[in-house]
């Protein structure tokens, strides 16, 4: 078993123990993943206090819902990231605080920013395939998809950032998603 698979199965085993009510196992999950999930929440919320609240909420949710994690169908880290993103986005939508509006990074920035081995838990193969498929999209489509995922912004905010009509933004994203799905399932 390679390091990634071992890492993944360790995390999956810890989640199984959490499902059985094992607090020590939740501590292990927290130690292994909290920095990643805090980074995810912070990126979306752009506010440490809010991100801390959401992070707490995320692990309490993990504690309650670990039983619904299915290692045959999901990788532990993407399951956890999905919980963190959903909680953070829900918090963002419910808060009246207006969000920063920043221009979307150019494809050049994306390449410079690509961290090689930040996360061993997502299989390299999965990462490579996503990268390849994103690369097959029109550049502006892949840029908005990436930005939407990382920043948790709405269609409307994306349209403002890119200075295009809302309908155009929806069309870009939906087309991008359709192509991405086809490509990833090849």
């Amino acid at each position: 078993m390679d390091a990634i698979a071992a890492n993944r199965s360790q995390l999956a085993a810890a989640l199984a123990r959490v499902a059985a009510g094992d607090r020590a196992a939740l501590r292990i999950v927290y130690q292994d993943t909290s920095a990643k999930l805090f980074g995810v929440c912070l990126r979306i919320l752009n506010d440490r206090g809010e991100a801390e609240d959401v992070l707490q909420d995320v692990y309490v949710t993990v504690w309650r819902k670990a039983g619904s994690f299915d290692p045959a169908r999901a990788s532990p880290i993407t399951w956890l990231v999905a919980i963190a993103r959903n909680r953070a986005i829900d918090r963002l939508r419910s808060s009246a605080v207006s969000r920063r509006s920043e221009p979307i990074e150019s494809a050049e920035d994306v390449r410079d920013d690509a961290p090689a081995a930040l996360d061993l838990v997502v299989a390299a193969e999965q990462r490579e395939r996503l990268k390849t498929c994103l690369g097959e999209l029109e550049e502006r489509h892949s840029a908005v998809i990436r930005s939407a995922f990382l920043d948790g912004v709405t269609y409307e905010q994306l349209a403002q950032r890119m200075d295009v009509p809302l309908g155009t933004m929806k069309s870009w994203i939906r087309r991008g998603l359709m192509k991405l799905r086809t490509c990833l399932e090849r």
């Binding site: 607090r23 993103r85 930040l118």
Partner: protein
């Protein structure tokens, strides 16, 4: 397709709605409508899960940031209230029950009775449960545990034990070459605890495998292995 698409029901149907949800581009009311569908429609929920997997690797770009120390304490506090199973809790607190068992039983027999009575309500009847008496140093029984097929485990203290600020952790020690102890979670020194043995460990639940209880720092072993402070140990046997 025109460059501008004003329709709100996207071409591509559910898979695209699920993708939009995962991407996070929907507004609050759209998100809550989709969240309700996830709860109600398994096929749609699985579409969402597929998108979580497809796009999850994008999170690799996010730099990890260590959260403040206090966050873990807050999580620990939030999950602290133990939720004992109502069946078990009520049996444990039932005075009538205690009067009956008090008449003629030692702590050990009481513990056996409780473990088996309780397991009877959760275990499949097709296979006899495995039973272990976990002896302390000096031979006094410390706990009685019963494991039913499927991995439902009940562990009951058989004598008065104290953990002195430490946590008690239960370990499964498989037989043979796989003999490394595997944690089954934390238990309480003074009340019965029900644990579900994780599916990957169920194959190790065999006669002659052992159960052990160790004293660990609060929260349990950080190393994945028990400390040297083993308070009770015993072999599983067929009933």
């Amino acid at each position: 397709m025109s460059e501008t698409d004003h329709s709100d029901t996207p071409e591509g149907g559910d898979p695209i709605v699920a993708g939009e949800y995962v991407l996070g581009v929907l507004d609050a009311s759209e998100r809550s409508a989709v969240a309700q569908r996830i709860e109600r429609e398994p096929a749609f929920a699985s579409e969402v899960a597929s998108w979580d997997e497809r796009l999850g690797a994008l999170a690799d770009e996010v730099k990890p940031v260590t959260p403040p120390e206090a966050t873990w304490s807050r999580i620990e506090a939030a999950i602290a209230a133990p939720a004992p199973s109502p069946t078990l809790g009520s049996l444990w607190q039932n005075l009538f029950f205690w009067r009956i068992v008090g008449i003629a039983s030692s702590g050990l027999a009481t513990a056996c009775l409780i473990a088996l009575a309780y397991l009877g309500t959760v275990a499949a009847p097709d296979r006899a449960p495995l039973l272990a008496t976990l002896g302390q140093q000096g031979g006094q029984p410390g706990f009685v545990a019963a494991i039913g097929s499927g991995g439902s485990l009940v562990i009951v203290p058989a004598s008065l034990l104290t953990a002195n600020q430490k946590s008690m952790e239960l370990w499964l020690i498989p037989t043979g070459t796989q003999a490394r102890p595997r944690s089954l979670g934390l238990i309480a020194p003074s009340q019965p605890v029900r644990i579900t043995v994780p599916p990957n460990l169920v194959p190790f639940v065999t006669p002659d495998a052992s159960l052990a209880v160790s004293l660990e720092e609060p929260g349990g072993s950080r190393t994945g292995a028990p400390s040297n402070d083993i308070v009770a140990v015993g072999k599983l046997t067929n009933l």
